[in-house]
């Protein structure tokens, strides 16, 4: 085990652990935000640069500071490393800059975006964004496209985290979408008109940190915070059948995987509980599910948490015993 100090808190982790995962082991508000890293997807991370932290001392043997900020999601810790995240003004400033970069070409369509309320970029903007944009140029725009009859792609909103690409590579047997072009013209696309159609392809919706990939079967345009999330399970031959069903009254509006506070699909019995497309898109009838109880939405998000509490206050309190 190696010892690391992050924002003055010491933690012991396995050698080879990344700074971000060491921080997650400590938990709380010293955990850097991660827009592209996704612990369940091999190779993810390093791209968005929101998780930048300052390394004030490289290791016990070489205590020199690292000259540049490093991406905490892809930098392994050393014994005796000292990391500053929220205690560093430099980190704060540069994270604000990264946030600004992510937002300059992002449309201001939160009011009509399905992801509003559970969008990681919205959270990031809330915590690190500037009040006014300094961007006077034309935003780049793409037309929304259907990737089959179940998934919609709003490329305008994409932050090119590549999570959906890794998901398709690692969860499905044939990837049919990817990144076309390059630079600020890079876009997620199938290139030819093609449905992403595979038992597990719907998971691209769950991993997308923003509203770029959304569920077309989401029955009703509703703000997520008006829905009541319930943990539910079903007998499924393709997946573990452990999901969250989002209800309005007695109706299921949508089905998603069970996400933890970092927005990642939870492990259940030691396996990541990705759900299959049948569970996600087709089981919209309450009788198909065994409801286990309300789902506590435990995201760090200021925006979403307030909303859910307003909706679910009593029940979630009961559930967590507080």
């Amino acid at each position: 085990m190696v010892k690391v100090i992050i924002d003055d808190i010491e933690v012991e982790v396995e050698p080879g652990t990344t700074i971000l995962n060491a921080a997650r082991k400590i938990g709380g508000d010293i955990v850097p935000p991660a827009m592209c890293y996704y612990s369940k997807l091999q190779g993810s991370g390093g791209k968005c640069r929101t998780c930048l932290v300052e390394v004030a001392a490289g290791s016990a043997t070489d205590p020199r500071p690292m000259p540049k900020l490093v991406a905490s999601c892809s930098t392994p810790v050393n014994d005796g490393m000292v990391v500053k995240n929220k205690t560093s003004q430099r980190v704060y400033d540069n994270r604000a800059a990264v946030t600004e970069f992510l937002l300059i070409n992002h449309p201001l369509d939160c009011p009509v975006c399905d992801q509003a309320g559970e969008c990681h970029l919205q959270d990031l903007g809330f915590e690190h964004g500037k009040e006014r944009t300094r961007y006077e140029e034309k935003r780049r725009t793409f037309d929304p496209i259907d990737i089959g009859d179940k998934i919609k792609l709003h490329m305008n909103r994409c932050i090119l985290c590549y999570r959906c690409v890794y998901t398709a590579n690692q969860l499905t047997d044939q990837r049919v979408h990817g990144v076309m072009h390059r630079g600020d013209h890079a876009e997620i696309s199938t290139y030819i008109e093609k449905a992403i159609d595979n038992d597990f392809s719907g998971n691209v919706i769950d991993v997308c940190p923003v509203g770029a990939l959304t569920d077309k079967t989401f029955r009703f345009k509703s703000r997520v915070w008006f829905l009541k999330p319930m943990e539910a399970s079903c007998e499924c031959t393709k997946c573990a059948g452990k999901a969250v069903i989002w209800m309005f009254g007695d109706e299921i509006y949508r089905v998603t995987g069970r996400k933890d506070k970092y927005g990642e699909i939870e492990d259940i019995d030691g396996k990541t509980a990705w759900i299959c497309n049948e569970c996600r898109f087709d089981k919209k009838d309450k009788s198909m599910w065994k409801i286990e109880g309300p789902r506590v939405i435990n995201r760090h998000s200021v925006i979403s948490q307030n909303q859910y509490i307003a909706d679910d206050q009593i029940e979630s309190k009961k559930l967590t015993g507080k």
Partner: protein, 178 residues
């Protein structure tokens, strides 16, 4: 704009390399260890472009994917990343004028303008007779010999408007009766 190939070529049958080209393709694949045939992709795309009309249509790319036993999307991703590959059908002759700093210092803007006027098109367009496509390119490694343009495998350097006129005439003659 979103990149979805919807042109009329999309449903055409896949082309095929001649037996002779196939030998060359096999030689190239053989330059890499077993199982690393994907490394041959770039060179084969260059050959495919040369063989199949100067561009990479969807059927061409699907064919290359099949040859290398990779997913078509892997080919689309590569073909759209690298600027040399044409994913839209160009004219018979593609002129790529370098517009980067060192060439600009010695007059590449004027050369581009000259060709634009001469062919009555803007950069990125194809002339009405379907012969010339004019493109701009970033630094082609001929900075000391600019202004310059690339046409196929050839670099034409130390350009002047007069030299450009001569080149256009020669190329037009070569290609108009084909």
């Amino acid at each position: 704009m979103s990149t979805i190939a919807t042109n009329e070529y999309i449903n055409q049958p896949e082309p095929e390399f001649s037996a002779e080209k196939m030998k060359e393709v096999q030689r190239i694949i053989g330059l890499f260890p077993e199982g690393k045939q994907k490394s041959a992709l770039m060179r084969i795309l260059h050959i495919a472009e040369e063989e199949f009309g100067g561009w990479l249509s969807v059927p061409t790319m699907n064919y290359v994917a099949r040859l290398l036993n990779i997913q078509p999307i892997e080919v689309y991703e590569v073909a759209t990343f690298y600027t040399m590959f044409n994913i839209e059908k160009p004219g018979k002759v593609v002129l790529e004028v370098c517009r980067t700093g060192p060439c600009m210092l010695v007059g590449s803007d004027q050369i581009i303008e000259h060709i634009e006027k001469k062919l009555n098109i803007k950069a990125g367009e194809t002339s009405a007779d379907g012969i010339f496509t004019l493109k701009t390119a970033e630094c082609l490694g001929a900075c000391g010999y600019g202004p310059m343009l690339q046409c196929g495998k050839h670099y034409h350097e130390h350009l002047t408007p007069a030299k450009v006129d001569e080149l256009l005439d020669t190329l037009r003659k070569e290609h108009s009766d084909k």
